[in-house]
Symmetry: C2
Subunit: 474 residues, 2 copies
């Protein structure tokens, strides 16, 4: 409980405009993209690391839980104030502090929106590849806390692969600096990567240093529609045989296509299409253009019902008003907008959906798809699947229409996770564990590792005030 | 102290052939590439994780230190038996357990030699990029323990970026499994990367799962000689401006060239050359060939005294008997052999050398080179510099001829590290801390972070038996 005394101390510390107990502010801070709700007792919006440190120190002294949050776009409830306390909103710490083209690094505050950062980086001819579907609104702090992935991981890796160093406020209020500003550094234990993906349970990031890479000269984006997933799978094997390393390879199933047709009929998807594949390759100008042609030819040879090859990146970026884009002179952004319409489109056909993000070794993708079909029949819950075919990270959406399906959901989820792990896969490719997957964690993480994780948590946060109730089952 | 009783227990546990207290075995296990010496009381060569676990459990129960070692090619004394106890030699655990082209992953035992693994991987059209200079003899276990870097990091990252999962025997003998077999996984804290680079102080790796990438179709290797480092620097800026992302960009200074001329006169290096630059780019066949031509032209335009462009990778690989290779029809391997001759060549001109591996942000390279020149004058120790220009990781070799220079060395090293850190750099890009840099660690790692590292060590190794005396100053 935050007493009035303590609340006044926070107010005196931060100033009245950035700390609040007003119901409307608490409501705003009680949700995230998991659609669970938990109301904090206070919201504070710090501006500096020193402020974050002072807030957390006071919370620590008074055993008040602290929940870091950025855009609250996390899918697994990672920001929810389960045990009362303080929602620490970093969205005002949103400065890009440095983009250094010579060192190929950048330093940002945690509240910087990922897409804003990407755009700034690109003006320097550089590239920050991590690209979760939430990039237009999610923050760098949240991306580091969850180790966000996205569509380009097959070639470019995940957020962890770009973070070089962190400024972090620990759960006792101490400010530490981890990592370095260089591409290589092996001085002591890797505190940086211990903190990346720790879901706000070990501290609050106040500065993030990332490495950048050269912006590829050219991107080729293609979409193809097929009659079944098996053809898509064959095509992905062809890519591997040809040693083509796409930067994105996205698939969506029949249910997704049906939802999109319903939601955005102007996409005019070929009626007989049952699967859509989106392929993106990048690299040098000439080579990538040739590769685009080669992929186009192969897609048609392998029986694609329709193949659309986007124009170059320049044209794609002009093509912002996607609904007005002429169908046969189409930009990459337009093609991506079909992919990005899935999530809202699924809501248009189901009142509730549970989105999972299992990841399996690539060779097990067909097997897990088969298993999901069986689960669909067994638990009588329709499933929509899309995801990152290239890295085996599939978004499995359970569509809930009836109370019976709601009841069956737990069994279906547990069966899905159990089978995923049995195939050598993982519960979460990119959404994290948060609260929604906490109880399933022991299916994948064995007792010894789980104990070690709990010990690490206790070491860094002995009072358990930092984002309590997340990741490890209690 | 290992009593005769306990020695007999180890013998009964492992079998007499793989456990020894014979002086000749102890001598072999008492050195590493740091050229320091410390003799263990016993050497054991386990074959399985279960054996490693049983050995460590018995050591744990009896408070006997354990020092994991592979090829003992580490540069910072990481394997030395500072406090008696057991040298745990993993060199017999040298099986490549799996190379899975479809999943693009591989699983190896820790004793697998890196170059052997790379060659096997390449037969599948795949690529394991980390490539320390020791690759021909260092082991995968050692590479993971040190987070080895090498010459391809500018484009491909370091060992950490390839390790997906580990089987580890903890200091109490418990076997745990971290990470996953998938390219993405965010289930709990990142134990894998906490262990990568932990220099054998947190446990012994018994299985290592790494991700692989497609083998580039084509590699272009070029060498150019210049009259000064400033020209080389200008060239590296040109690469950045052109957004060319080399996979290697190696530089060596005048002292290195002098040593090589002395050591291998058959290289016939242009007499007026004062600096050598080695550039390697890779990618698709056509594009990379064009890029090779473009770089060649630019090198000549920027005043290179001599430029040599290697033939394609196929020809280079045929060119194994490098000394017989005809000079003007030269393979990549031949060009690399000049670079790789530096270390032995420096011994041919100095009886003792101390090799450092500082890393600075790329924009600070000229500045640190200036500072090193000043240190050379101030401490009267000749310095030879080569290294990875692309990622700012410079190998600074102090050449010791006299007792006076020996005495001055400590001051010179401390000044070098202090200036490196002041420029935003790091004490060690890839060699680790071990014992030789332990006392300098507080120059870079502040008290809070150091305390956290010590706490992590105590958490995982409460009795301090696992590779004691390494990394953190005692």
């Amino acid at each position: 409980m935050i007493s009035q005394n303590i609340y006044q101390s926070f107010k005196a510390m931060v100033g009245p405009g950035r700390v609040s107990q007003a119901p409307e502010d608490l409501v705003v801070a009680s949700y995230d993209a998991s659609k669970n709700l938990a109301r904090p007792e206070m919201v504070v919006k710090p501006l500096t690391a020193t402020e974050v440190s002072r807030i957390i120190r006071l919370a620590y002294e008074n055993n008040i839980p602290v929940y870091p949050r950025g855009a609250a776009s996390g899918m697994t409830g990672g920001t929810l104030a389960l045990k009362g306390g303080i929602a620490l909103d970093t969205s005002l710490m949103n400065r890009i502090l440095e983009i250094n083209p010579e060192d190929m690094i950048a330093m940002v505050e945690p509240g910087v929106v990922v897409a804003d950062f990407q755009k700034q980086v690109e003006t320097h001819g550089l590239f920050y590849p991590p690209d979760p579907a939430s990039a237009e609104f999610s923050t760098m702090g949240g991306n580091v806390a969850e180790c966000a992935g996205g569509v380009r991981c097959i070639k470019y890796g995940v957020t962890r692969d770009y973070v070089l160093g962190l400024e972090v406020v620990l759960p006792n209020g101490e400010i530490i600096h981890t990592g370095s500003h260089t591409l290589k550094s092996v001085t002591g234990y890797d505190l940086t990567r211990l903190l990346v993906g720790s879901e706000g349970t070990l501290g609050v990031f106040t500065r993030i240093t990332v490495r950048l890479v050269p912006l590829p000269e050219k991107v080729e984006t293609l979409v193809a529609f097929f009659t079944n997933l098996h053809e898509v799978w064959q095509f992905s094997r062809w890519l591997a045989q040809e040693r083509i390393w796409p930067r994105a390879l996205e698939v969506m199933d029949e249910t997704c296509l049906r939802a999109i047709r319903n939601y955005q009929p102007e996409f005019e998807i070929t009626p007989s299409a049952r699967t859509m594949l989106l392929i993106e390759v990048d690299g040098g100008q000439a080579e990538t253009t040739l590769l685009g042609q080669k992929i186009h030819t192969q897609l048609e040879a392998m029986g694609a019902l329709q193949t659309i090859r986007a124009n170059d990146a320049a044209q794609a970026s002009r093509c912002l008003r996607i609904r007005d884009a002429p169908y046969h002179n189409i930009g990459a952004q337009y093609l991506w907008s079909i992919r990005k319409a899935i999530s809202p489109a699924l809501y248009s056909i189901a009142p509730k959906k549970i989105s999972e993000d299992i990841c399996v070794p690539r060779s097990k993708i067909l097997k897990i798809l088969e298993i999901i079909k069986e689960l669909e029949s067994k638990y009588l819950i329709p499933v929509a699947i899309f995801g990152h075919l290239g890295d085996g990270n599939l978004h499995v959406h359970f569509l809930i229409f009836t109370p019976r399906q709601e009841t069956n959901l737990d069994g279906a989820l547990e069966a899905l996770f159990r089978e995923t792990v049995r195939l050598g896969g993982t519960l979460s490719g990119e959404h994290g564990i948060g609260i929604t997957k906490s109880k399933y964690l022991p299916l994948e993480v064995r007792a010894g590792e789980l104990k070690l994780m709990q010990q690490l948590k206790t070491l860094l946060d002995p009072k358990g005030i930092m984002n309590p109730g997340k990741i490890c089952p209690e």
